[in-house]
Amino acid sequence: MKPLPPTLTVTAPPHAHCGKTVKGRMRAILIAMMPAALLAVHHFGMDALRVMCLGAAAAVVAEFLCDQIMERRSQVDDLHAFTVGLTFSFLLPASAPWWMVVFGSAVSIIMGKMIFGGLGGSPLCAPLVGWAVCSLSWPAHMDINASMLTSELNYPLSQLKHFGVEAIKGYDLDSLMVGRQLGGLGAVQTGALFIGGLFLAIRKHIKVGVSVGMLAGVLLTAGLFRMADPAQYASPMFHLLTGSVIFGAFFLATDPSSSPMRKIPAALFGLTAGVLVIIIRVYGVYPDGTPYAILLANLAAPLLDRIKPKPFGKKAAGRTLT
Protein backbone atom coordinates (compact mmCIF):
# COMPACT_ATOMS: atom_id res chain seq x y z
CA MET A 1 0.00 0.00 0.00
CA LYS A 2 2.11 2.91 -1.21
CA PRO A 3 1.03 6.46 -0.42
CA LEU A 4 0.04 8.88 -3.16
CA PRO A 5 3.02 10.63 -4.72
CA PRO A 6 3.20 14.28 -3.72
CA THR A 7 1.98 16.33 -6.66
CA LEU A 8 2.44 19.74 -5.14
CA THR A 9 5.72 20.72 -3.58
CA VAL A 10 5.48 23.57 -1.15
CA THR A 11 8.49 25.25 0.39
CA ALA A 12 9.23 28.07 2.85
CA PRO A 13 7.89 26.67 6.10
CA PRO A 14 5.62 28.64 8.33
CA HIS A 15 2.22 27.62 6.99
CA ALA A 16 -1.22 28.27 8.38
CA HIS A 17 -4.03 25.84 7.73
CA CYS A 18 -7.47 27.34 7.28
CA GLY A 19 -8.91 24.38 9.15
CA LYS A 20 -11.15 23.20 6.34
CA THR A 21 -10.87 19.52 5.54
CA VAL A 22 -12.60 17.30 3.01
CA LYS A 23 -14.08 15.36 5.88
CA GLY A 24 -15.47 18.49 7.51
CA ARG A 25 -17.02 19.65 4.26
CA MET A 26 -18.57 16.26 3.62
CA ARG A 27 -19.92 16.17 7.14
CA ALA A 28 -21.55 19.55 6.58
CA ILE A 29 -23.09 18.33 3.32
CA LEU A 30 -24.44 15.25 5.08
CA ILE A 31 -25.94 17.43 7.81
CA ALA A 32 -27.53 19.59 5.12
CA MET A 33 -29.02 16.51 3.48
CA MET A 34 -30.36 15.11 6.71
CA PRO A 35 -33.74 16.98 6.81
CA ALA A 36 -34.49 15.91 3.26
CA ALA A 37 -33.58 12.33 4.08
CA LEU A 38 -35.92 12.36 7.08
CA LEU A 39 -38.75 13.84 5.00
CA ALA A 40 -38.11 11.21 2.32
CA VAL A 41 -38.52 8.45 4.90
CA HIS A 42 -41.67 10.18 6.11
CA HIS A 43 -43.19 10.33 2.61
CA PHE A 44 -41.96 7.10 1.05
CA GLY A 45 -41.53 4.90 4.12
CA MET A 46 -38.85 2.36 4.80
CA ASP A 47 -38.31 1.84 1.06
CA ALA A 48 -36.58 5.20 0.91
CA LEU A 49 -34.36 4.30 3.86
CA ARG A 50 -33.46 1.02 2.15
CA VAL A 51 -32.43 2.79 -1.08
CA MET A 52 -30.36 5.40 0.77
CA CYS A 53 -28.53 2.85 2.95
CA LEU A 54 -27.80 0.60 -0.02
CA GLY A 55 -26.56 3.49 -2.14
CA ALA A 56 -24.21 4.86 0.48
CA ALA A 57 -22.88 1.44 1.48
CA ALA A 58 -22.28 0.33 -2.11
CA ALA A 59 -20.38 3.53 -2.88
CA VAL A 60 -18.07 3.11 0.13
CA VAL A 61 -17.36 -0.54 -0.71
CA ALA A 62 -16.76 0.29 -4.39
CA GLU A 63 -14.27 3.01 -3.51
CA PHE A 64 -12.45 0.76 -1.08
CA LEU A 65 -12.14 -2.00 -3.70
CA CYS A 66 -10.92 0.52 -6.29
CA ASP A 67 -8.27 1.72 -3.87
CA GLN A 68 -7.15 -1.87 -3.35
CA ILE A 69 -6.85 -2.49 -7.11
CA MET A 70 -5.09 0.82 -7.70
CA GLU A 71 -2.72 0.09 -4.79
CA ARG A 72 -3.48 3.33 -3.06
CA ARG A 73 -3.92 4.23 0.53
CA SER A 74 -7.65 4.14 1.00
CA GLN A 75 -9.31 7.45 1.78
CA VAL A 76 -12.88 6.28 2.25
CA ASP A 77 -12.85 7.77 5.73
CA ASP A 78 -13.09 11.26 4.19
CA LEU A 79 -16.84 10.52 3.72
CA HIS A 80 -16.80 11.58 0.07
CA ALA A 81 -17.84 8.14 -1.20
CA PHE A 82 -20.60 8.02 1.39
CA THR A 83 -21.87 11.43 0.25
CA VAL A 84 -21.75 10.44 -3.42
CA GLY A 85 -23.68 7.25 -2.72
CA LEU A 86 -26.31 9.09 -0.71
CA THR A 87 -26.57 11.83 -3.35
CA PHE A 88 -27.04 9.20 -6.04
CA SER A 89 -29.78 7.46 -4.08
CA PHE A 90 -31.54 10.82 -3.60
CA LEU A 91 -32.13 10.85 -7.37
CA LEU A 92 -33.77 7.41 -7.53
CA PRO A 93 -37.44 6.56 -7.08
CA ALA A 94 -38.05 4.86 -3.74
CA SER A 95 -39.11 1.70 -5.54
CA ALA A 96 -35.70 1.17 -7.18
CA PRO A 97 -34.67 -2.51 -7.09
CA TRP A 98 -31.66 -3.28 -4.89
CA TRP A 99 -29.35 -4.37 -7.70
CA MET A 100 -29.93 -1.13 -9.59
CA VAL A 101 -29.08 0.95 -6.52
CA VAL A 102 -25.90 -1.05 -5.92
CA PHE A 103 -24.87 -1.01 -9.57
CA GLY A 104 -25.57 2.70 -10.07
CA SER A 105 -23.84 3.68 -6.87
CA ALA A 106 -20.77 1.64 -7.75
CA VAL A 107 -20.75 3.11 -11.26
CA SER A 108 -20.95 6.61 -9.78
CA ILE A 109 -17.81 5.96 -7.77
CA ILE A 110 -15.88 3.92 -10.33
CA MET A 111 -16.70 5.83 -13.50
CA GLY A 112 -17.43 9.18 -11.92
CA LYS A 113 -14.51 9.41 -9.54
CA MET A 114 -11.88 6.68 -9.29
CA ILE A 115 -11.18 6.32 -13.02
CA PHE A 116 -10.17 9.97 -13.12
CA GLY A 117 -7.74 9.47 -10.28
CA GLY A 118 -9.87 9.87 -7.18
CA LEU A 119 -11.17 12.85 -5.29
CA GLY A 120 -11.03 16.12 -7.21
CA GLY A 121 -10.10 14.65 -10.58
CA SER A 122 -13.48 14.09 -12.11
CA PRO A 123 -14.75 16.41 -14.86
CA LEU A 124 -18.33 15.23 -14.21
CA CYS A 125 -20.52 15.28 -11.16
CA ALA A 126 -20.07 11.71 -9.88
CA PRO A 127 -23.65 10.82 -8.79
CA LEU A 128 -25.02 12.01 -12.13
CA VAL A 129 -22.77 9.59 -14.02
CA GLY A 130 -24.39 6.69 -12.19
CA TRP A 131 -27.81 8.23 -12.70
CA ALA A 132 -27.24 8.62 -16.45
CA VAL A 133 -26.04 5.02 -16.84
CA CYS A 134 -29.03 3.70 -14.90
CA SER A 135 -31.60 5.81 -16.70
CA LEU A 136 -30.21 4.75 -20.09
CA SER A 137 -30.09 1.10 -19.07
CA TRP A 138 -33.33 0.56 -17.19
CA PRO A 139 -35.78 3.28 -18.24
CA ALA A 140 -38.63 1.21 -16.83
CA HIS A 141 -37.19 1.11 -13.31
CA MET A 142 -36.09 4.75 -13.43
CA ASP A 143 -39.45 5.95 -14.77
CA ILE A 144 -40.86 7.52 -11.66
CA ASN A 145 -44.51 7.33 -12.64
CA ALA A 146 -44.49 3.71 -13.75
CA SER A 147 -42.45 2.44 -10.83
CA MET A 148 -44.43 4.24 -8.13
CA LEU A 149 -47.99 3.36 -9.20
CA THR A 150 -48.99 2.32 -5.68
CA SER A 151 -48.22 5.73 -4.18
CA GLU A 152 -51.04 8.22 -3.79
CA LEU A 153 -48.69 11.03 -4.78
CA ASN A 154 -48.17 12.10 -8.37
CA TYR A 155 -45.24 13.09 -10.52
CA PRO A 156 -46.06 16.69 -11.48
CA LEU A 157 -43.41 17.06 -14.17
CA SER A 158 -44.57 14.10 -16.19
CA GLN A 159 -48.16 15.35 -15.92
CA LEU A 160 -46.98 18.71 -17.23
CA LYS A 161 -45.13 17.01 -20.06
CA HIS A 162 -47.96 14.76 -21.16
CA PHE A 163 -51.16 16.63 -20.25
CA GLY A 164 -50.11 20.25 -20.38
CA VAL A 165 -50.52 23.06 -17.93
CA GLU A 166 -54.15 22.23 -17.09
CA ALA A 167 -53.14 19.01 -15.35
CA ILE A 168 -50.96 20.70 -12.76
CA LYS A 169 -53.59 23.17 -11.53
CA GLY A 170 -54.11 21.00 -8.44
CA TYR A 171 -50.65 21.54 -7.03
CA ASP A 172 -50.14 24.35 -4.58
CA LEU A 173 -46.63 25.50 -3.89
CA ASP A 174 -46.77 24.70 -0.16
CA SER A 175 -47.40 21.01 -0.67
CA LEU A 176 -44.70 20.89 -3.34
CA MET A 177 -42.31 22.48 -0.89
CA VAL A 178 -42.80 19.86 1.80
CA GLY A 179 -42.30 17.15 -0.79
CA ARG A 180 -45.83 15.98 -1.45
CA GLN A 181 -44.88 14.92 -4.98
CA LEU A 182 -43.10 12.09 -6.71
CA GLY A 183 -39.61 12.24 -8.11
CA GLY A 184 -36.18 11.29 -6.93
CA LEU A 185 -36.84 10.22 -3.35
CA GLY A 186 -34.72 12.88 -1.70
CA ALA A 187 -34.50 15.35 -4.54
CA VAL A 188 -38.16 16.35 -4.31
CA GLN A 189 -37.98 17.44 -0.66
CA THR A 190 -37.38 20.91 -2.04
CA GLY A 191 -38.07 22.93 1.10
CA ALA A 192 -35.77 20.84 3.28
CA LEU A 193 -33.07 20.86 0.65
CA PHE A 194 -33.34 24.63 0.31
CA ILE A 195 -32.74 25.03 4.03
CA GLY A 196 -29.81 22.62 3.81
CA GLY A 197 -28.44 24.52 0.83
CA LEU A 198 -28.67 27.83 2.67
CA PHE A 199 -26.78 26.26 5.58
CA LEU A 200 -24.01 25.15 3.22
CA ALA A 201 -23.90 28.56 1.55
CA ILE A 202 -23.68 30.43 4.85
CA ARG A 203 -20.93 28.12 6.09
CA LYS A 204 -19.19 28.72 2.72
CA HIS A 205 -18.96 25.05 1.90
CA ILE A 206 -20.30 25.56 -1.62
CA LYS A 207 -19.78 28.15 -4.34
CA VAL A 208 -22.82 30.38 -3.97
CA GLY A 209 -22.38 31.67 -7.53
CA VAL A 210 -23.26 28.30 -8.99
CA SER A 211 -26.44 27.92 -6.96
CA VAL A 212 -27.62 31.48 -7.51
CA GLY A 213 -26.81 31.26 -11.21
CA MET A 214 -28.71 28.03 -11.61
CA LEU A 215 -31.80 29.18 -9.73
CA ALA A 216 -31.74 32.44 -11.70
CA GLY A 217 -31.39 30.53 -14.95
CA VAL A 218 -34.41 28.37 -14.13
CA LEU A 219 -36.54 31.29 -12.96
CA LEU A 220 -35.63 33.59 -15.87
CA THR A 221 -36.10 31.01 -18.61
CA ALA A 222 -39.32 29.65 -17.14
CA GLY A 223 -40.51 33.24 -16.66
CA LEU A 224 -39.85 34.05 -20.32
CA PHE A 225 -41.81 31.01 -21.46
CA ARG A 226 -44.61 31.87 -19.04
CA MET A 227 -44.79 35.44 -20.29
CA ALA A 228 -44.89 34.24 -23.88
CA ASP A 229 -47.91 32.00 -23.32
CA PRO A 230 -49.35 31.42 -19.81
CA ALA A 231 -51.82 28.86 -21.19
CA GLN A 232 -49.07 26.59 -22.41
CA TYR A 233 -46.16 26.89 -19.99
CA ALA A 234 -46.01 26.36 -16.23
CA SER A 235 -45.02 29.10 -13.83
CA PRO A 236 -41.39 29.62 -12.79
CA MET A 237 -42.11 28.72 -9.16
CA PHE A 238 -43.61 25.41 -10.25
CA HIS A 239 -40.46 24.58 -12.19
CA LEU A 240 -38.31 25.61 -9.25
CA LEU A 241 -40.13 23.42 -6.72
CA THR A 242 -40.56 20.26 -8.78
CA GLY A 243 -38.05 17.67 -9.82
CA SER A 244 -34.49 18.06 -8.65
CA VAL A 245 -33.78 21.73 -9.44
CA ILE A 246 -33.07 22.78 -5.84
CA PHE A 247 -31.11 19.59 -5.18
CA GLY A 248 -29.13 20.15 -8.36
CA ALA A 249 -28.45 23.81 -7.63
CA PHE A 250 -27.11 23.26 -4.10
CA PHE A 251 -25.73 19.72 -4.04
CA LEU A 252 -24.96 18.52 -7.58
CA ALA A 253 -23.79 21.50 -9.62
CA THR A 254 -21.63 22.77 -6.78
CA ASP A 255 -19.41 19.68 -6.87
CA PRO A 256 -15.98 21.36 -6.66
CA SER A 257 -14.09 19.22 -9.16
CA SER A 258 -16.61 19.59 -11.97
CA SER A 259 -17.59 23.25 -11.65
CA PRO A 260 -15.49 26.29 -12.61
CA MET A 261 -13.33 27.89 -9.96
CA ARG A 262 -13.80 31.63 -10.14
CA LYS A 263 -16.92 33.62 -9.35
CA ILE A 264 -18.00 34.82 -12.79
CA PRO A 265 -17.40 31.48 -14.53
CA ALA A 266 -19.20 29.75 -11.65
CA ALA A 267 -22.25 32.00 -12.06
CA LEU A 268 -22.23 31.48 -15.84
CA PHE A 269 -21.92 27.75 -15.27
CA GLY A 270 -24.96 27.76 -13.01
CA LEU A 271 -26.87 29.91 -15.47
CA THR A 272 -26.09 27.48 -18.30
CA ALA A 273 -27.35 24.57 -16.24
CA GLY A 274 -30.49 26.46 -15.21
CA VAL A 275 -31.39 27.49 -18.74
CA LEU A 276 -30.78 23.94 -20.00
CA VAL A 277 -33.09 22.51 -17.32
CA ILE A 278 -36.06 24.47 -18.64
CA ILE A 279 -35.16 23.90 -22.29
CA ILE A 280 -35.02 20.14 -21.71
CA ARG A 281 -38.27 20.25 -19.73
CA VAL A 282 -40.09 22.20 -22.43
CA TYR A 283 -38.69 20.63 -25.60
CA GLY A 284 -36.99 17.41 -24.52
CA VAL A 285 -38.33 13.91 -23.93
CA TYR A 286 -37.28 13.81 -20.27
CA PRO A 287 -39.77 15.22 -17.76
CA ASP A 288 -37.01 16.41 -15.43
CA GLY A 289 -34.02 17.82 -17.28
CA THR A 290 -31.89 18.67 -14.26
CA PRO A 291 -29.39 15.76 -14.29
CA TYR A 292 -28.62 16.04 -17.98
CA ALA A 293 -28.52 19.83 -17.80
CA ILE A 294 -25.89 19.69 -15.08
CA LEU A 295 -23.88 17.03 -16.94
CA LEU A 296 -23.88 19.21 -20.06
CA ALA A 297 -22.83 22.25 -18.06
CA ASN A 298 -20.05 20.13 -16.48
CA LEU A 299 -18.67 19.56 -19.94
CA ALA A 300 -18.60 23.31 -20.56
CA ALA A 301 -16.85 24.03 -17.26
CA PRO A 302 -13.26 23.87 -18.61
CA LEU A 303 -14.26 26.39 -21.30
CA LEU A 304 -15.78 28.73 -18.73
CA ASP A 305 -12.63 28.38 -16.63
CA ARG A 306 -10.77 30.22 -19.38
CA ILE A 307 -12.40 33.45 -18.24
CA LYS A 308 -9.56 34.67 -16.06
CA PRO A 309 -8.47 38.01 -14.75
CA LYS A 310 -5.55 39.72 -16.46
CA PRO A 311 -2.20 38.82 -14.92
CA PHE A 312 -0.81 41.75 -12.98
CA GLY A 313 1.32 44.03 -15.15
CA LYS A 314 0.16 42.66 -18.47
CA LYS A 315 -0.78 45.24 -21.10
CA ALA A 316 -4.48 45.72 -21.71
CA ALA A 317 -4.29 44.93 -25.41
CA GLY A 318 -2.01 41.96 -24.93
CA ARG A 319 -3.22 38.41 -25.42
CA THR A 320 -3.43 37.00 -21.94
CA LEU A 321 -4.89 33.59 -22.56
CA THR A 322 -2.14 31.42 -23.86
Binding site: I69, W99, F103, M111, I115, V133, L136, S137, W138, P139, H141
Partner: protein, 222 residues
Protein backbone atom coordinates in the same frame (compact mmCIF):
# COMPACT_ATOMS: atom_id res chain seq x y z
CA UNK B 1 9.38 -20.33 -40.53
CA UNK B 2 10.26 -19.02 -37.13
CA UNK B 3 10.31 -15.46 -38.45
CA UNK B 4 6.97 -15.93 -40.18
CA UNK B 5 5.43 -17.22 -36.96
CA UNK B 6 6.85 -14.22 -35.14
CA UNK B 7 5.28 -11.80 -37.62
CA UNK B 8 2.01 -13.70 -37.46
CA UNK B 9 1.77 -14.00 -33.70
CA UNK B 10 2.59 -10.40 -32.84
CA UNK B 11 -0.84 -9.37 -34.08
CA UNK B 12 -2.51 -11.79 -31.70
CA UNK B 13 -1.34 -10.28 -28.43
CA UNK B 14 1.79 -8.14 -28.45
CA UNK B 15 0.56 -5.65 -31.06
CA UNK B 16 -3.15 -6.47 -30.90
CA UNK B 17 -4.56 -3.80 -33.23
CA UNK B 18 -7.39 -2.09 -31.34
CA UNK B 19 -6.03 -2.54 -27.83
CA UNK B 20 -2.26 -2.35 -28.12
CA UNK B 21 -1.79 -0.27 -31.27
CA UNK B 22 -5.07 1.61 -30.63
CA UNK B 23 -5.70 1.72 -34.37
CA UNK B 24 -8.95 1.32 -36.30
CA UNK B 25 -11.09 2.55 -33.43
CA UNK B 26 -13.85 3.85 -35.69
CA UNK B 27 -15.27 0.40 -36.58
CA UNK B 28 -14.35 -0.89 -33.14
CA UNK B 29 -16.67 1.64 -31.56
CA UNK B 30 -19.36 1.64 -34.22
CA UNK B 31 -20.09 -1.93 -35.26
CA UNK B 32 -19.50 -3.90 -32.07
CA UNK B 33 -23.05 -3.69 -30.78
CA UNK B 34 -23.30 -7.47 -31.30
CA UNK B 35 -20.72 -10.24 -31.55
CA UNK B 36 -21.94 -11.19 -35.02
CA UNK B 37 -21.41 -7.69 -36.41
CA UNK B 38 -17.94 -7.55 -34.91
CA UNK B 39 -17.08 -10.94 -36.40
CA UNK B 40 -18.37 -9.99 -39.87
CA UNK B 41 -16.47 -6.73 -39.84
CA UNK B 42 -13.35 -8.58 -38.73
CA UNK B 43 -13.62 -11.08 -41.59
CA UNK B 44 -13.86 -8.24 -44.11
CA UNK B 45 -10.80 -6.63 -42.58
CA UNK B 46 -8.81 -9.91 -42.63
CA UNK B 47 -9.52 -10.23 -46.35
CA UNK B 48 -8.58 -6.66 -47.21
CA UNK B 49 -5.59 -6.49 -44.89
CA UNK B 50 -3.96 -9.72 -46.05
CA UNK B 51 -4.40 -9.00 -49.73
CA UNK B 52 -3.39 -5.36 -49.45
CA UNK B 53 -0.26 -6.37 -47.53
CA UNK B 54 0.57 -8.89 -50.24
CA UNK B 55 0.00 -6.45 -53.11
CA UNK B 56 1.83 -3.60 -51.44
CA UNK B 57 4.74 -5.87 -50.68
CA UNK B 58 4.87 -7.08 -54.28
CA UNK B 59 4.95 -3.58 -55.75
CA UNK B 60 7.03 -2.02 -52.98
CA UNK B 61 10.06 -1.52 -55.23
CA UNK B 62 8.04 -0.03 -58.10
CA UNK B 63 6.23 2.71 -56.19
CA UNK B 64 8.00 6.09 -55.97
CA UNK B 65 8.33 7.07 -52.33
CA UNK B 66 6.49 10.36 -52.76
CA UNK B 67 3.21 8.88 -53.98
CA UNK B 68 3.26 5.71 -51.93
CA UNK B 69 0.34 6.67 -49.69
CA UNK B 70 -1.90 7.30 -52.69
CA UNK B 71 -0.87 3.95 -54.15
CA UNK B 72 -1.65 2.13 -50.88
CA UNK B 73 -5.07 3.76 -50.77
CA UNK B 74 -5.82 2.76 -54.37
CA UNK B 75 -4.90 -0.85 -53.60
CA UNK B 76 -6.96 -0.88 -50.41
CA UNK B 77 -9.90 0.79 -52.15
CA UNK B 78 -10.07 -1.74 -54.94
CA UNK B 79 -9.99 -4.59 -52.42
CA UNK B 80 -12.70 -2.96 -50.35
CA UNK B 81 -14.93 -2.60 -53.39
CA UNK B 82 -14.44 -6.31 -54.00
CA UNK B 83 -15.40 -7.11 -50.40
CA UNK B 84 -18.40 -4.84 -50.63
CA UNK B 85 -19.70 -6.53 -53.78
CA UNK B 86 -19.07 -9.98 -52.29
CA UNK B 87 -20.92 -9.04 -49.12
CA UNK B 88 -23.84 -7.66 -51.11
CA UNK B 89 -23.99 -10.92 -53.04
CA UNK B 90 -23.67 -13.43 -50.20
CA UNK B 91 -24.35 -11.86 -46.78
CA UNK B 92 -26.70 -9.01 -47.55
CA UNK B 93 -28.25 -8.70 -44.03
CA UNK B 94 -24.80 -8.34 -42.48
CA UNK B 95 -23.89 -5.81 -45.16
CA UNK B 96 -26.94 -3.76 -44.22
CA UNK B 97 -26.02 -3.97 -40.53
CA UNK B 98 -22.47 -2.75 -41.09
CA UNK B 99 -23.62 0.00 -43.47
CA UNK B 100 -21.11 2.75 -44.09
CA UNK B 101 -18.35 0.99 -42.15
CA UNK B 102 -17.58 -1.46 -44.95
CA UNK B 103 -16.58 1.25 -47.45
CA UNK B 104 -14.78 2.99 -44.60
CA UNK B 105 -12.33 0.08 -44.35
CA UNK B 106 -10.43 1.97 -47.09
CA UNK B 107 -9.41 4.64 -44.64
CA UNK B 108 -9.05 2.26 -41.72
CA UNK B 109 -5.79 3.11 -39.99
CA UNK B 110 -4.80 -0.54 -39.68
CA UNK B 111 -4.74 -1.12 -43.45
CA UNK B 112 -2.67 1.96 -44.18
CA UNK B 113 -0.58 1.52 -41.05
CA UNK B 114 0.43 -2.04 -41.87
CA UNK B 115 1.07 -1.15 -45.52
CA UNK B 116 3.27 1.77 -44.57
CA UNK B 117 5.02 0.33 -41.55
CA UNK B 118 5.43 -3.28 -42.57
CA UNK B 119 4.46 -4.42 -46.06
CA UNK B 120 6.33 -1.67 -47.90
CA UNK B 121 9.58 -2.76 -46.26
CA UNK B 122 9.27 -6.54 -46.26
CA UNK B 123 9.00 -9.38 -48.79
CA UNK B 124 5.57 -10.89 -49.57
CA UNK B 125 5.58 -13.89 -47.24
CA UNK B 126 6.20 -12.00 -43.97
CA UNK B 127 3.76 -9.36 -45.21
CA UNK B 128 1.02 -11.97 -45.60
CA UNK B 129 1.82 -13.39 -42.16
CA UNK B 130 1.65 -9.92 -40.66
CA UNK B 131 -1.65 -9.11 -42.39
CA UNK B 132 -3.23 -12.40 -41.35
CA UNK B 133 -2.05 -12.06 -37.77
CA UNK B 134 -3.23 -8.48 -37.45
CA UNK B 135 -6.53 -9.31 -39.14
CA UNK B 136 -7.19 -12.26 -36.86
CA UNK B 137 -6.24 -10.19 -33.83
CA UNK B 138 -8.61 -7.46 -34.98
CA UNK B 139 -11.41 -9.97 -35.54
CA UNK B 140 -10.88 -11.54 -32.12
CA UNK B 141 -10.94 -8.16 -30.42
CA UNK B 142 -14.05 -7.03 -32.27
CA UNK B 143 -15.86 -10.29 -31.59
CA UNK B 144 -14.87 -10.18 -27.94
CA UNK B 145 -15.95 -6.57 -27.51
CA UNK B 146 -19.13 -7.24 -29.48
CA UNK B 147 -19.84 -10.32 -27.39
CA UNK B 148 -19.30 -8.40 -24.19
CA UNK B 149 -21.62 -5.61 -25.26
CA UNK B 150 -24.21 -8.01 -26.64
CA UNK B 151 -24.19 -10.08 -23.46
CA UNK B 152 -24.61 -7.14 -21.11
CA UNK B 153 -26.76 -5.08 -23.45
CA UNK B 154 -29.19 -7.75 -24.63
CA UNK B 155 -28.38 -10.86 -22.59
CA UNK B 156 -27.51 -12.69 -25.80
CA UNK B 157 -24.48 -14.09 -27.59
CA UNK B 158 -24.55 -14.42 -31.40
CA UNK B 159 -28.30 -13.94 -31.19
CA UNK B 160 -28.92 -16.72 -28.64
CA UNK B 161 -30.23 -16.05 -25.16
CA UNK B 162 -27.56 -17.02 -22.69
CA UNK B 163 -28.33 -14.92 -19.62
CA UNK B 164 -30.16 -16.29 -16.61
CA UNK B 165 -33.89 -15.82 -16.30
CA UNK B 166 -34.09 -12.72 -14.12
CA UNK B 167 -31.34 -10.85 -15.97
CA UNK B 168 -32.20 -7.23 -16.75
CA UNK B 169 -30.09 -6.15 -19.73
CA UNK B 170 -27.87 -3.12 -19.20
CA UNK B 171 -29.05 -1.45 -22.43
CA UNK B 172 -26.47 1.26 -21.82
CA UNK B 173 -23.79 -1.20 -22.99
CA UNK B 174 -25.46 -1.80 -26.36
CA UNK B 175 -25.70 1.91 -27.14
CA UNK B 176 -23.04 4.36 -28.27
CA UNK B 177 -21.71 5.44 -24.84
CA UNK B 178 -21.36 1.78 -23.87
CA UNK B 179 -18.86 1.34 -26.71
CA UNK B 180 -16.59 4.05 -25.37
CA UNK B 181 -16.90 2.89 -21.79
CA UNK B 182 -16.32 -0.79 -22.50
CA UNK B 183 -13.38 -0.04 -24.80
CA UNK B 184 -11.84 2.15 -22.11
CA UNK B 185 -12.37 -0.45 -19.42
CA UNK B 186 -10.90 -3.18 -21.64
CA UNK B 187 -7.81 -1.05 -22.35
CA UNK B 188 -7.56 -0.41 -18.63
CA UNK B 189 -7.75 -4.13 -17.83
CA UNK B 190 -5.18 -5.01 -20.51
CA UNK B 191 -2.69 -2.46 -19.21
CA UNK B 192 -3.29 -3.73 -15.71
CA UNK B 193 -2.49 -7.30 -16.68
CA UNK B 194 0.51 -6.27 -18.77
CA UNK B 195 1.93 -4.45 -15.78
CA UNK B 196 1.14 -7.40 -13.55
CA UNK B 197 3.10 -9.65 -15.90
CA UNK B 198 6.02 -7.24 -15.97
CA UNK B 199 6.02 -7.02 -12.23
CA UNK B 200 6.22 -10.80 -11.99
CA UNK B 201 9.25 -10.72 -14.30
CA UNK B 202 10.81 -7.99 -12.20
CA UNK B 203 10.48 -5.22 -14.81
CA UNK B 204 9.34 -1.68 -14.17
CA UNK B 205 5.67 -0.98 -14.97
CA UNK B 206 4.92 1.01 -18.10
CA UNK B 207 2.53 3.83 -18.72
CA UNK B 208 0.71 4.32 -21.98
CA UNK B 209 0.85 2.25 -25.16
CA UNK B 210 3.11 -0.75 -25.00
CA UNK B 211 4.17 -1.25 -28.62
CA UNK B 212 7.59 -0.37 -29.96
CA UNK B 213 8.19 2.13 -32.75
CA UNK B 214 8.45 -0.64 -35.35
CA UNK B 215 4.72 -0.84 -35.66
CA UNK B 216 4.19 2.86 -36.28
CA UNK B 217 7.09 5.10 -37.22
CA UNK B 218 4.69 7.98 -37.80
CA UNK B 219 6.88 10.46 -35.99
CA UNK B 220 9.74 9.81 -38.42
CA UNK B 221 12.16 8.92 -35.68
CA UNK B 222 13.58 6.00 -37.62
Amino acid sequence: MNKLWKEFSKGLWKDLPPFKLVLGLCPVLAVTSTAENGFGMGMAVIFVLTLSNLLVSLVRNLIPAKVRIACFIVIAASLVVAVELLMQAYVYPLYQQLGIFVPLIVVNCIILGRAEAFASKNPPLPAIADGLGMGIGFTMSLTFLGGLREFFGHGQLFGHHVAWAGFEPVSFMAEAPGAFVSLGLLLCAMNYFTNLQRKRKGLAPIDGPTHDCGSCGACGSK
